[in-house]
């Protein structure tokens, strides 16, 4: 039987942070995830690294944690954090009294909130509503790419011996006399079931923590709270733009790479798997968003997506936006199961702190006194400017930095070698997001790539303007050639699966230019290529 010291359940930011922290402290750890990494709230989110301004009035504890972790992430996550800065804007319809509370809250929480003139605000964000915006402040918000951060956490963990199994679902726990012996898992592709022996398991399954708890016979108070977001085709904003009012729906815009994300809604749902979005949700978000940006409707929407915040509900606690954004650690020894922990709640921005607290407890139990070092060491080594400059002539313009931060030092080197040796590998698989064939090939070959969507999350193919229209075919072909999974060879199925994934987010916004785009995709695949195998009659 495969054995490790700690099994971490859940490949979200929290679980990944725990895997890295344990590995750095010399504890043997393995992370299992039933899907690909960050399949839950750690990527179905704004991509906002909070300054804490959002919580400065309601929850100063959280605000203080945010600003500290924000500064740490800017330092250790240079390849996944874009330090674009943030702006809070109060509109004419917002309560000026709240502004005063907020300014004080920021000062008390150690968040630098710099008031700026409206002229300055409009210069920095030219699309802000001249009519509605009444005051503006700059704060140190930032954008963070959940996909890149996840794989960088894995790269970091692996350097210290950490292990990863994606598409591996926990189906039970092996206990003897109230003591954990192992975790039973199932391979999602082969259906193979087996056990991984361990001393400790950490339930870091986010919205799914309740289900995992049930497998062990323990009750976990977690309420999935669905938030819907909209991705726009352009960078509408240069900074994270927040409404300066009591936190509500649709009041944050984040410039996320080439796109802008607007969100979010808040709705309690029974099932964290529910990532559906509706036209009505989109409309309601735009209605709010256009108070800050009057010409918002003129911008093309790429897609919508939704994820569930795993809100921790202590017995008798509040739900929805009023629920605490704090986190809780439960040692289930109190429930008569020695060796199982649950960590639940919290926020993406403070994932590292949560992991540190969790690992302190695990290490105490294991008698390991090594201190946490996750705040001091960068997630990954940066590709040097000299290497990027040398590689620049092989990449498409505007493509070198993004490829370097996505790939990391080793893979970047390999990709550059191939670009140099084989000019044809410089061709773009994804023309919208500027992704070369060499990069796609490199990720296709990785043993953690099981479906084309896995390649997408690591390269950004299919995530730009045409949403897979032109790259689906190319990517599925490359994946069939290089993918290590036997199912990769079924390129038609992989391609359809990939396109269906893209269309899921497009269906609720099938209007205007998005509708035209999708009709073109449909024509190319269903008419020209006849991928559905329909009869011409």
């Amino acid at each position: 039987m495969e054995k490790t010291t700690v099994v971490v359940i859940g490949g979200g930011a929290t679980g990944l942070g725990i895997l890295r922290d344990l590995s750095m402290r010399g504890v043997k750890a393995l992370l299992v995830e039933k899907n690909d990494l960050v399949n839950g709230a750690s990527s179905r989110y704004h991509g906002l690294l909070h300054s804490g301004g959002r919580y400065a009035v309601k929850d100063q504890e959280a605000a203080k944690e945010c600003i500290i972790e924000n500064q740490i992430m800017r330092k250790i996550g240079k390849s996944c954090v874009e330090p674009c800065g943030g702006m809070f804007t109060r509109l004419d319809i917002d309560d000026p009294a709240y502004e005063e509370l907020w300014v004080k809250g920021c000062a008390d929480s150690g968040i630098e909130a710099t008031p700026i003139t409206l002229d300055e605000a409009f210069r920095l964000e030219p699309r802000l509503s001249r009519k509605h915006v009444k005051s503006a402040y700059l704060v140190p918000d930032a954008a963070v790419d959940g996909f890149r951060m996840a794989w960088q956490l894995i790269d970091s963990s692996k350097r210290y011996g950490g292990q990863l199994k994606t598409y591996t679902e926990v189906i039970g726990f092996d206990t003897v006399n109230g003591e954990l012996r192992g975790v039973k898992v199932r391979n999602q592709f082969t259906g193979e079931e087996y056990e991984i022996g361990c001393d400790i398991a950490v339930n870091a399954a986010g919205g799914w923590a309740g289900f995992v708890g049930k497998l062990a016979g323990v009750e976990i108070g977690v309420q999935p709270d669905k938030g819907t977001l909209i991705a726009f085709n352009q960078r509408i904003v240069n900074h994270v733009v927040n409404r300066l009012h009591k936190s509500s729906d649709g009041d944050i815009f984040v410039p996320h790479g080439s796109i802008t994300i607007l969100g979010t809604s808040s709705m309690s749902v029974p099932d964290p798997e529910d990532t559906s979005t509706s036209r009505a949700e989109v409309e309601s978000l735009i209605k709010i968003g256009e108070q800050t940006f009057e010409d918002l409707r003129d911008f093309r929407i790429l897609r919508t997506f939704a994820g569930s915040r795993p809100l921790y509900i202590p017995p008798g606690g509040a739900v929805g936006r009023s629920a605490s954004r704090g986190f809780a650690i439960v040692d289930h020894e109190q429930d008569g199961l020695k060796g199982l922990f649950t960590i639940v709640g919290g926020k993406f921005t403070t994932y590292r702190l949560m992991a540190e607290k969790m690992c302190d407890q695990i290490c105490a139990k294991l008698g390991n006194n090594t201190p946490c070092r996750t705040a001091d060491e960068p997630l990954v080594e940066e590709v040097s400017q000299a290497d990027k400059d040398r590689a620049r002539k092989f990449f498409p313009s505007y493509g070198t930095n993004l490829a370097a931060t996505r790939l990391g030092v080793d893979r970047f080197k390999k990709v550059v070698e191939r670009l140099e040796a084989d000019p044809e590998s410089r061709e773009l698989v994804c023309e919208c997001e500027n992704v070369t064939r060499a990069e796609v090939e490199e990720i296709c070959k990785d043993d953690t790539s099981f479906i084309v969507n896995d390649v997408r999350r690591r390269t950004r193919i299919g995530m730009g303007t045409c949403q897979g229209n032109f790259c689906a075919l190319r990517a599925a072909a490359l994946f069939a050639e290089l993918g290590t999974e036997p199912s990769a060879k079924d390129s038609l199925a992989r391609m359809k699966e990939f396109l269906q994934g893209r269309w899921k987010g497009i269906r609720p916004v099938l209007l205007g230019r998005t509708l035209r785009e999708t009709e073109m995709t449909r024509s190319i695949y269903e008419l020209s290529m006849n991928v559905t195998g329909g009869d011409a009659r």
Partner: protein, 399 residues
Amino acid sequence: MSDTKAIFTGDRCLSCTSCMANCPVMAAIKDYRGPKLVGPAHGRMHFSQEDVEESLNYCSNCKSCDRACPSGVAVSTLNMLQRAEYYKNHPHLRSEDMLAHGERMANLIRKIPFGATFSNLGMSIGKALGVFSALGIAGERNMPAYAATPFKDAFSSIKQTSSAKKVVLFTGCFINDNEPQVGNAFVKVMNANGYEVLIDRRFKCCGSPLVVTGFLDEAHQHADNNVARILDWKRQGIPVVTPCTSCSLMLKEEYHELFGDDKFHEAATNVYDAFEFLEMLQEHGEFNDNFKTLNQRLLYHVPCHLKSQAIGLPAQDILEEAGAKVNLADAGCCGISGNYGFRKDKYEISMKIGAKLFERVKQHDFDKVICDCGTCRMQIHHGTDIKPVHPIEILAQAY
């Protein structure tokens, strides 16, 4: 998006690739990454790093991409805006400076007694000695010869009957400095239609050669100057008309695509291509169709910048009405694209693009080749040894 400023139209791009399939430069040289990638696609990626797209240098601004685009993206203008960004940190070549400033050169030469004659002589000697080539200008080409007297200087000696109906002729540099006979023909045609022609010496070069060589700030100054004049004429109820299709495209469309001010939209409503104006007279029943029949077979090369105006082919309509038989060359872009084909490093591409048109012209199954664009006419002449004329010169023969 309601705003037609080019940078806002990029969001309309569906990535459909029609622009790339219709780009004559891409067909001629595969190093050019193509209109879609350079304009709309890269426009989304500028946030990632300071960079330039080197192959942007290949774009000729022929605007085939804009016409192919089903979504109304001003692809070529996005390219030109990017090109201007490039020149913010890169020096201009001497050839680019020279080719962008034809008007300035001409004005300098005019200040010297017999300057035009000497300079024409100088140009042939210069060509023979390889001076142009050394400057980065295609040594194979003849530079356009200067007219002895520019049109604007000769204008006052043209006898016109005064009329309440007036138009202002925007001559453009090429007609003024090199082919004043086109201006003369225009005046004759307008007079025959009861219009008195005025000129406005305060107009400057439309800015087209400046835009394509990345002198965007200078082009903006020209635009502001010219638009102030156009609006002034508009207030007096006098339209501005030009026989040069690149000038009219600049005044009507490219100004607001590039600089995005409402005044550019407003000015555009007072600018007409010469034949567009005549066709409008026809629609209002005010056109003089008392022609001497033109018994001629004409081969019409339609300039890209006329196609881009989406006004049909008014020259064909009117010349056919006057009895001419007009066949369309239908052979794509001629390849010269203003000063593009004059650059040493673009000469070959330019000739490759024009090859299909040259072949068509060489069939010589017509009496004359006609084309509204001055540089297209030079390219056809260079590629075939057959000298085309402006359609207004033919129409003038009918009155």
